[in-house]
């Protein structure tokens, strides 16, 4: 039966090629535009660290003065150096790391005239195991290296290739400005999107090229970057570790069980109380503990313009659907005679309905195929844009399947009403007029 419907549908579509092309094109345009934007949105809202995002938490405490305080005010997005170090040394989580973005001058073996600036991350030892960072060679540094301000570095594979011509660079000397560091590890390709552990450098920033122990970098006065919020005095000598009125450090903690999460929250509140008693904090305990996805959500990582464009694309799909409904209605009603003959010869309403839906599904499939090409083109256009999320705009298997499902469902949805109308035709009346 299905084969017969398919045959009928094929003949019917072939009879009026212009209308068929128009319908396929309408669905294809709608599907192409919306799949482009949905794919971009899908990539941008992806879990950057699948499997562990539920165990990684971002604590916030509120060391600001009472000025501008209200019960609902959020604590600063980052920690002061002092608080970060206190939380780090309390070691209440399975793992924990403090970090900040930085900039270093890489002086390559060819000499100072070839020097260039690279993005860096100053972090403590747990950064690598906690975020499950893959290594091509060597590994991260130990907590003891943090304590003794060791001059060690982890570099990205790209930089290792550029400087030494090989990813096996462990043991090489890395010259940053006027200081030498020993390379202890080379990262394999690693590019979490969104750049969840530090959103202040751009939500989809590229991963850093150089990783240094936090305290070493601070001792050598390497430049930090990223956002900084100050409410007290700024250190006059540029020593950020003395900036008690500035929050600029990111801190992540790994907590494996709900019980540990609850106790960590208590710990943060207790810490705030204690700091208040010491006179460092002025506000009542005001703490937050968000996991990765909650943190991304809180920071609205998806740009408003992308959401707006997705909405626009969906609106466009809606218009395409209404258009298809109108065209299918015209097409089905025009075939009143043929349908009446089928009905008179014994086809049930249901059979006619099914036949019309098969025809619509065929249009949907064709629309999906053309739409897929359009979406591929749309994503190519997005990739040409100099926006930081451009590189991630690729379609994957799931989105490929979704495109066809969406196209067929859209066509079927559009066909429901016209098909129902066409089935209501009273055969006798139409046959009589012929």
């Amino acid at each position: 039966m299905f084969g017969y419907y398919l045959d009928l549908a094929w003949r019917s579509l072939g009879r009026n090629k212009v209308l068929t092309t128009l319908m396929v094109l309408a669905i294809a345009l709608g599907i192409g535009a919306s799949m482009t934007m949905i794919t971009v949105l899908h990539v941008m809202t992806a879990d950057p660290i699948p499997g562990r995002s539920g165990q990684l938490f971002y604590p916030q405490v509120d060391p600001q003065g009472m000025e501008g305080y209200s019960k609902a005010s959020d604590p600063p997005d980052q920690l002061t150096w002092l608080d970060a170090m206190s939380l780090l040394h309390a070691r209440k989580g399975v793992r924990q790391a403090a970090m900040s973005a930085g900039r270093v001058t890489v002086v390559p073996p060819q000499g100072a005239t070839h020097a260039f600036i690279a993005d860096a991350r100053y972090a403590t030892a747990d950064f690598f195991p906690m975020f499950d960072v893959p290594f091509a060679d060597g590994g991260g540094w130990a907590a003891s290296d943090d304590d003794k301000h060791a001059r060690v570095a982890v570099i990205a594979r790209e930089l290792a290739d550029k400087l030494y011509g090989t990813p096996h660079a462990v043991g090489q000397l890395l010259r940053l400005g006027k200081y030498d560091f020993r390379v202890v590890g080379v990262l394999d390709d690693w590019n979490p999107a969104p750049h969840f552990y530090d959103l202040s450098m751009g939500s989809y920033a590229k991963p850093e090229q150089v990783f240094l122990p936090f305290e070493t970098a601070m001792e050598l006065k390497q430049g930090t970057q990223g956002s900084m919020m100050c409410w007290g005095d700024f250190p006059t000598d540029g020593d950020m570790t003395k900036a008690n009125g500035c929050a600029w450090v990111q801190f992540w903690v790994q907590l494996d069980t709900p019980a540990r999460v609850a106790s960590y929250r208590d710990f943060l509140a207790g810490y705030s109380e204690q700091q208040k008693a010491l006179g460092r904090f002025a506000r009542p305990p005001n703490v937050r503990l968000r996991d990765v996805m909650q943190w991304l959500d809180y920071n609205h990582v998806v740009p408003g313009s992308v959401q707006l464009q997705t909405l626009l694309a969906l609106g466009f799909l809606l218009v395409c659907l209404v258009n298809t409904v109108a065209m299918l209605l015209v097409k089905f009603l025009r075939r009143g005679g043929e349908l009446s003959v089928r009905r008179a010869m014994g086809a049930s309403k249901r059979a006619v309905f099914a036949q019309l839906l098969v025809e619509a599904a065929l249009v949907g499939l064709a629309g999906g195929a053309v739409g897929l090409l359009l979406a591929a083109f749309g994503l190519w256009v997005v990739r040409q844009q100099p926006v930081e999320y451009a590189a991630f705009a690729h379609m994957d298997g799931a989105m490929l399947a979704a495109t066809f499902v969406l196209a067929v469902c859209a066509a079927l949805l559009a066909a429901l009403f016209p098909a129902w109308r066409a089935c209501r035709i009273v055969p006798a009346r139409l046959l009589k007029t012929q």
Partner: protein, 410 residues
């Protein structure tokens, strides 16, 4: 009742569908047109400097965090840049309009009175000749005098690199002057700087308009002041260049500076590119909106063509009869044009309501601007013309139906 209206009643479903499509298109297109207008207006804001005559460069020492050249070194750099062919004048500034880096401070109307503070005022600072180099025109007052210049870098006040107090003279924008002293002549008036509002600064000049390095909610578009400085830590070199020489100057500049001191990195950029780069997101958005609007209109037009053709075909016999009993070709043409106008108008009526609703929702969700109702007219005009263009072909075909059809059976 008019025959056109009663004829439409026989095709209620189809008419409603077409009107619905027009309404949706109208709601989306009106908002898209408004967004395009909004972005284009934002991109056309003038910077207040000579956009097409500037090249700028940033140099960084090899030791980030403790780098920077001071005093005589900077003078040597400036002299070398001044000697480049095509360069008219050179100065050093802390930042430039739309270059994204900025420092902002509070300006106090009364010393030490927190309540008199105007927050988030952007600080520009520059060495002698900055106004001339940037091409900034004063609407009142004077340029800085040699004695006004002191070593000062915004944001570094009080640090070992900049122990001296801020300058005592400033040039403010009209916007800042209005914020400080509404309706008064700001020339000669004093305001106070520093985190406690203790350092007096006297207004010596006023600029009509000078855009901020970044347009933000807090700093606004052009609430800023220019301060005179003999030397700046981490500043940028600005060169006023003959427009046709900009490319050559930007290309040769790094070589000129590294010849003086090789241990540094230099990045030179044509200022017009900086502006284009700043508006990149807006431009991309305008293109997306234009493409989607175009597709949407094309689709709606095709839908109208398809449906009108169907109706013409369906009514061929009726048209023949009307022609046979005396209707002219023009009457038939007018009939279909008027019918289309009626349906499109219904769509626009519903669509305009939708457009306003959509705008209100977008305003709440994305902090977009409020759409003036005049924009509804633009959407309506677009759709009316679209409908008339789309129906013209089928209507002309209808008008060519010969009266003789009336005598034939279909």
């Amino acid at each position: 009742m008019h025959p056109i209206v009663s004829a439409l009643k026989h095709h209620k479903t189809t008419v409603v569908l077409v009107a619905l499509e027009i309404a949706l298109t109208c709601a989306i297109v009106t908002n898209a047109l408004f967004l395009i207008g909004d972005r284009v207006a934002a991109m056309r804001v003038v910077t207040g400097v000579a956009d097409h005559e500037l090249v700028w460069a940033r140099t960084t020492g090899l030791d980030l965090g403790q780098d920077t050249r001071m005093g005589a070194d900077i003078d040597a750099d400036l002299a070398a840049l001044r000697g480049m062919p095509g360069v008219e004048s050179v100065a050093m500034a802390n930042t430039l309009p739309l270059s994204r880096n900025y420092m902002s401070v509070g300006a106090w109307r009364r010393p030490g009175d927190k309540k008199s503070e105007i927050d988030n005022v952007v600080e520009y600072a520059g060495t002698p000749g900055l106004l001339h180099t940037l091409g900034i025109k004063l609407s009142a007052g004077r340029d800085f005098l040699p004695q006004d210049y002191v070593p000062y870098t915004p944001g570094l006040f009080g640090s070992p690199d900049s122990k001296a107090p801020p300058p005592t003279a400033a040039i403010v924008t009209h916007t800042l002057a209005e914020a400080l002293w509404p309706g008064e002549n700001p020339l000669g008036k004093t305001f106070w700087l520093d985190s406690d509002g203790k350092e007096p600064v006297q207004v010596v000049g006023v600029t009509g308009h000078l855009l901020n390095p970044r347009i933000t909610k807090y700093q606004g578009a052009d609430r800023n002041m220019i301060l005179p400085s003999t030397r700046l830590v981490g500043g940028v070199y600005v060169l006023n260049v003959r427009p046709d020489m900009r490319g050559a100057v930007a290309r040769d500049l790094p070589g000129v500076l590294t010849r003086i001191d090789p241990a540094r990195m230099v990045k030179a950029e044509i200022y017009a590119d900086t502006i284009a780069d700043y508006y990149h997101g807006d431009r991309a958005m305008v293109w997306v909106l234009l493409v989607v609007t175009g597709c949407l209109l094309a689709l709606t037009a095709l839908g109208v063509v398809g449906l009108s053709s169907f109706w013409v075909q369906q009514r061929t016999r009726q048209i023949g009869i009307r022609r046979a009993i005396g209707a002219t070709r023009r009457d038939i043409l007018r009939y279909f044009q008027f019918e289309n106008l009626l349906i499109v108008t219904m769509g626009i009526a519903v669509g305009s309501l939708g457009a306003v609703g959509l705008n209100l929702w977008l305003m709440r969700r994305y902090e977009l601007a409020h759409m003036p109702l005049a924009w509804l007219a633009s959407g309506a005009v677009v759709l009316w013309s679209l409908g008339q263009c789309a129906v013209l072909g089928p209507a002309l075909r209808a008008s060519r139906v010969p009266p003789v059809v009336a005598t034939r059976t279909v």
